[in-house]
């Protein structure tokens, strides 16, 4: 996303604030100041063994954030941060259906170091939540790193005006509307319906209601959602990616190591990059094209001159 003027920033805040039923959800991506919009960290080797992979995930996450200028660029003292990983499925990390727990834990630690008052890690799972939170390893990792990791409460979804093309309004999780920074942490996966599930699709985890309806028009619903939510930062987990039978997966043969973690402020660009990791052209992904058309971001991620870090 290119730098915006203060006037545009204030205007956008006012518009979005007005569109909300309640809360003061601030699209702090604008406030991220100048700096690189995309950074891609990649491990030259592909170490085996859980300890080595965990260490790899931690280092990749750290380097990807450093490539953008450090977490301090995004998180300030006293911030309440929501880290939104993919905790959607009752799978173990090796099955690459949920975000790598070490990526999540590293982000929690970085946010806390940057002075965040409270770091929340949660997601609206598709499979039964108690199982997903435990089996994905994310609950234990997040709690260990000092985050507030809880299972979402069905009562708390608030109907919120999105004023989108496909979604005029939708139920969003009440607590999400109350934070001031949101970090979207998807895992790169093939998706049976929309070819790939990346960052914008991952935002579905803050929605409630009968969200299966989204799948009738993912192109527009996801961009509506992404336009409204505007995460502070997107950190894309591609340590392992799911290349087939996504988004649920299960078969270890469908998992490939890509040993990459990317971080960026442009939702469209980072999704475009993520698509290439699965062998797709960004133009093949409907919501990436739509996001680009609506100027939510740019599909040409190379034009952002991404910082590439090889470890």
């Amino acid at each position: 996303m290119k730098d915006v003027s203060r006037r545009e920033f204030v205007k956008a805040c006012a518009l979005i604030g007005a569109a909300m039923k309640l809360g003061t959800f601030a699209p702090d991506a604008y406030g991220a100041g100048s700096g690189p919009s995309l950074s891609i960290a990649h491990f030259r080797t592909s170490p085996m063994g859980p300890e080595a992979i965990a260490e790899e995930a931690r280092r990749l996450t750290q380097e990807a954030i450093n490539g953008l200028g450090g977490m301090g660029r995004f998180i300030s003292k006293g911030d309440v941060v929501w880290i939104k990983p993919n905790i959607g499925w009752n799978r173990v990390p090796e099955q690459a259906a949920t975000t790598n727990p070490d990526v999540v834990a590293t982000l929690v630690a970085l946010c806390r170091q940057a002075g965040a008052k409270r770091v929340i890690v949660s997601d609206n799972s598709c499979n039964p939540s108690v199982a997903c939170f435990a089996r994905s390893g994310i609950q234990a990792a997040a709690l260990n790193a000092g985050a507030d990791c809880f299972i979402m409460d069905e009562r708390k979804f608030r109907k919120t005006a999105l004023k989108g093309k496909a979604l005029p309004a939708w139920e969003l999780y009440g607590d999400v509307l109350g934070v001031n920074k949101l970090i979207n942490v998807p895992i790169v996966k093939q998706h049976g319906l929309c070819k790939a599930t990346l960052g914008m699709k991952n935002l579905m985890g803050v929605t409630g209601g009968e969200r299966n309806r989204f799948h009738q028009d993912l192109t527009n619903t996801l961009v509506d959602l992404a336009t409204f939510i505007r995460p502070t930062l997107v950190v894309m987990d591609a340590v392992r990616v799911l290349t087939a039978n996504g988004p649920v997966g299960g078969n270890l043969a469908d998992v490939k190591r890509k040993d990459t973690v990317a971080a960026g402020t442009d939702q469209v660009a980072i999704d475009a990059f993520g698509a290439t990791l699965l062998g797709f052209k960004p133009q093949e992904i409907g919501y990436v094209v739509e996001g680009n058309a609506r100027r939510l971001g740019t599909i040409d991620f190379e034009s952002l001159k991404p910082r590439r870090i090889e470890i």
């Binding site: 039964p128 939540s129 108690v130 199982a131 939170f133 089996r135 069905e154 009562r155 708390k156 608030r158």
Partner: protein, 314 residues
């Protein structure tokens, strides 16, 4: 409830019943799905003490689940000292006792119905049906075994209803978000709900369509206590019937001081089992729960319960 001021025996009995009921509810809540595919040993506690389940499952499957052998203690103890299990330990019985005490009948009305009634034989027919079914290879115990019935009603009806009710109440406050200025009710109500959700309520609660039938049966059984004392225990419970048969000749028996008795029949009021404590040589050990209500309410101290060694002094 015993009539008038109660004796210490009744207090201890009430304490044991309350403890048992609370333990049952606690164990029930512990069975909530934790992300470990095991239920833990705890959950089976009351079922393992149930000789009806042991016998019915053994006869029908020709196998014995080793944990069920604990129920032989229950059976053995009942053979020795009578149906104390029904009066002091059974959590379902404790629930029925609780609803029985909510009866709005005057003492005179209770006098007419708290004594033994022939309908109490019904439970023996139910027991026989279960045993016959078991011999024929079908384990029917789960329909009317007290713990099965109670547990099933809790899981399918009561727990979802409570979770839904409490959740909806707090949810309404959260959504409507009432308050004065910046002082919102939710700042108090949400921490309370979080505490409840953490310790008592389910994290995520499933709901069951079949619950309607089970709800009707459960409510019927529980509210029948307002009509007859401990209705389930007297008329239906097949485990009670089994223990009644086992406890026909217990070593602990009622002792009546016949000279002091003036036949006021106050002892019959609030007799839980319908064991006829007022009848000379007519006390029915197989129906007595040893609740001590009769001993407690007798104004003339006629009644006590003593060790009765067969062939010794009466």
């Amino acid at each position: 409830m015993a009539h008038g001021k109660v004796t210490w025996q009744v207090w201890i009995r009430r304490f044991c019943q309350s403890g048992s009921l609370l333990l049952f509810l606690y164990i029930f809540l512990q069975a909530e799905y934790r992300p470990v595919n095991e239920t833990g040993h705890f959950v089976k506690l009351f079922f393992q003490l149930d000789p009806l389940i042991l016998i019915s499952s053994w006869l029908s499957s020709h196998q014995v689940l080793s944990g069920l052998l604990f129920s032989l203690f229950t059976l053995g103890a009942t053979v020795l000292i009578g149906r104390w299990f029904c009066g002091w330990i059974c959590p379902f019985g404790a629930l029925h006792n609780l609803f029985t005490s909510l009866r709005n009948q005057k003492a005179k009305a209770k006098l007419a119905v708290d004594g033994y009634s022939k309908g109490q034989k019904a439970k023996y027919y139910i027991l026989v049906a279960i045993l016959v079914g078991a011999v024929l290879g079908i384990n029917l115990a789960g329909w009317l075994d007290p713990f099965s019935f109670f547990y099933r009603s809790m899981a399918v009806v009561v727990n979802p209803a409570v979770n839904d009710g409490v959740g909806s109440f707090f949810g309404l406050i959260y959504q409507a978000d009432p308050g004065i200025g910046t002082h919102k009710v939710a700042t108090i109500s949400e921490p309370i709900y979080d505490f409840l959700r953490h310790h008592v309520l389910a994290t995520t609660q499933p709901y069951f369509y079949g619950g309607v039938l089970i709800a009707l049966l459960f409510l019927a059984v529980v509210f029948l206590n307002l009509y007859r004392a401990r209705f389930w225990c007297r008329y239906i419970c097949p485990l009670g019937a089994l223990l009644a048969v086992a406890g026909k000749n217990p070593l602990v028996q009622i002792k009546r001081n016949e000279e002091a008795c003036n036949n006021c029949r106050v002892c019959v009021i609030d007799c839980q089992g319908g064991a006829d404590p007022d009848v000379k040589d007519g006390w029915k050990p197989s129906e007595c729960f040893y609740c001590w209500n009769c001993q407690s309410s007798c104004p003339h101290k006629v009644i006590s319960f003593v060790f009765h060694v067969p062939g010794g002094q009466k």
